[in-house]
């Protein structure tokens, strides 16, 4: 009995000691620290790896769901986190944590979230896809023209305060053109990181030519229809302000004008949403380009990128 008790004590003590401490003031202080990412092969994982490499820093990365990141930071389980907005803005506004670096500083105008479609669905339901794309473009224009109104919708969507949302949207570039060059840059680095294999990619331009469809967005600009009477199953990420266009389009009734009903499916990170694409539980979805590319290649999940949703808009926060 004594032996068991002392063994138990030792295990508990070792477990407690394995958690690190220490404040971070500058980029160099990140060395040896633990940084949370929303998932492996997410845009944030990608940006963090790039940032660490550029600054010659080694840090441990661990996976934590974005909704749990702030509390984990405060309980000392991690030293910092990189996440999509509005989580960094919330940590800064409400928790008075320090914003160490924005993704704009890591890679200016980097593509981030995109709008993707199941390949088969695109072939069979081009009218629905065009209607979604047209709504997406209109909603993006709305965000740029009516920032105040967009912030109100963002508050409803994320359930966070107006102060947090208005600070967060400032770091996000809302776009709709798919950023071919940026996506290629991602692919090159994913290969370098060995997240994907060049055997699966084959010729890079051939692969990207199939993976990214830049024509449909032009076609959608001229698309009009009012009586589609269809349902589309749409994935998105929890409280991700990058995907605000989806909620603006819902709020403003853009989909309804096409006679389209959008059924929403929420995911906690892009890799999970890709699994839903794989099991054909969603037809279209907003998600990060990094998980989309990684699982398109590694699992052969047939999706096509139709439009961008945003550039930039992530940040690394430390306590």
């Amino acid at each position: 009995m004594k032996k068991i008790c002392s063994l138990l004590l030792v295990i508990l003590v070792v477990g407690c000691l394995s958690q690190q401490e220490g404040g971070i003031q500058s980029i160099d202080d990140l060395n040896g620290k633990t940084i949370a990412i929303p998932g492996k092969a997410t845009v944030q994982d990608f940006l963090l790896q790039r940032f660490l490499r550029d600054n010659n820093i080694t840090a441990t990365t661990i996976i934590v769901g974005p909704p749990e990141m702030i509390q984990t930071l405060e309980s000392g389980g991690i030293d910092g986190f990189i996440a999509w907005e509005p989580y960094p803005a919330r940590a800064v506004v409400e928790g008075e944590h320090m914003l160490l670096v924005t993704s704009r500083e890591i890679w200016p105008h980097h593509p981030c979230c995109v709008l993707a479609v199941q390949k088969e669905y695109l072939a069979e339901n081009k009218d629905v896809v065009l209607a979604v794309l047209a709504s997406h473009m209109r909603a993006t224009a709305f965000i740029l023209e009516n920032p105040q109104e967009a912030i109100r919708i963002g508050v409803d969507f994320t359930g966070m305060s107006e102060e947090v949302v208005s600070q967060a949207v400032q770091t996000i570039e809302y776009v709709y053109e798919p950023n071919y060059a940026g996506i290629k840059d991602y692919l090159e680095q994913l290969l370098e990181m060995e997240y994907v294999s060049s055997d699966d990619v084959g010729d890079m331009d051939t692969f990207l030519g199939e993976f990214v469809n830049s024509q449909l967005i032009e076609e959608a600009a001229a698309y009009s229809c009012s009586n589609l009477d269809r349902i589309v199953r749409m994935g998105y990420l929890r409280a991700d302000l990058h995907q605000l266009a989806l909620f603006v389009a819902l709020d403003q009734g853009y989909f309804e004008e096409f006679g389209l009903t959008v059924e929403l499916y929420v995911f906690s990170a892009g890799p999970q949403e890709m699994d839903a694409f794989g099991s054909q539980d969603i037809d279209m979805g907003y998600l990060g380009i990094a998980p989309a590319t990684t699982k398109r290649l590694n699992l052969g999940i047939p999706i096509v990128i139709l439009a961008g949703a945003n550039n930039e808009g992530s940040a690394l926060v430390v306590s």
Partner: protein, 244 residues
């Protein structure tokens, strides 16, 4: 017997291979592919590191459950008044250990303690209720015989009730350890520090879309769970040899 078991495993692998070849999908890697991945993980030492961390978590949670659940179960079986505690126990028991994850993360963060806590919750109830059952179901004539011979309460507890309820207690340990192992993987799926553990290995591979690594991790869990079960059964055989 042993050759039968080996044959069954062989048939299983062959069926898997055939299905994988027929499906020809990246969603279902073939045993050969998974075996290669398993071997690579094993020879690089990565699998061992993940398994060692997972085992330490299981052991901590399990021993804690043992330290709390066993005495409590015996006391509840021994003192009729203590048995009223079962109102609380019976209400807490149906709550799946995984439902405790959000609270565990709030209370203990994402480190070692929160995993140990989830495992503790999982292993605690079977250990407790089997100890309780063992004590309560001790034949009254054994206790009475002890009393007639002038044994004190503590002597009866130590020399009659505890040995007599040993099989039931060990059964509780075995079930508890099995549940602990299951809870571990789910607990590790929620993010942890340091980034090690078989559950974490699976989560990372899932994010990357590597079904072969997911399966290699699952196999490691299965093998270790199987080995632990056998070890406990051996222990049971040795400790309760007198049992018919």
């Amino acid at each position: 017997m042993r050759t039968h078991k080996v044959f069954i495993v062989f048939v299983f692998v062959v069926v898997w291979e055939v299905v994988a070849v027929l499906a020809n999908s990246r969603f279902l890697p073939s045993p050969l592919h998974v075996g290669t991945t398993f071997w690579n993980l094993l020879s690089s030492g990565a699998l061992f590191r993940h398994a060692a961390v997972s085992l330490a978590r299981v052991l901590a949670g399990f021993l804690l459950a043992l330290a709390v659940g066993l005495p409590l179960g015996v006391l509840m079986g021994w003192f009729p008044k203590m048995e009223n505690l079962s109102v609380i126990i019976e209400m807490l028991r149906p709550i799946p250990p995984l439902a405790w994850i959000p609270l565990a993360m709030l209370w203990f963060g994402i480190g070692f303690q929160s995993k140990a806590f989830i495992i503790f919750i999982g292993a605690f109830f079977p250990i407790l209720s089997n100890a309780l059952l063992g004590v309560r179901e001790t034949e009254p004539y054994l206790v009475e015989a002890g009393r007639v011979l002038g044994a004190s309460d503590s002597q009866i507890l130590r020399n009659i009730i505890l040995p007599n309820s040993f099989p039931s207690i060990l059964e509780g340990l075995r079930i508890g350890l099995g549940i602990a192992w299951m809870c571990l993987v789910a607990a590790e799926l929620t993010g942890l520090n340091p980034p090690l553990g078989l559950g974490y290995l699976i989560m990372e591979a899932r994010d990357l879309g590597r079904a072969d690594t997911v399966m290699a991790g699952m196999i490691a869990i299965g093998v270790i769970g199987y080995a632990m079960n056998i070890a406990l059964r051996q222990l049971e055989k040795r400790l309760v040899r007198w049992r018919p």
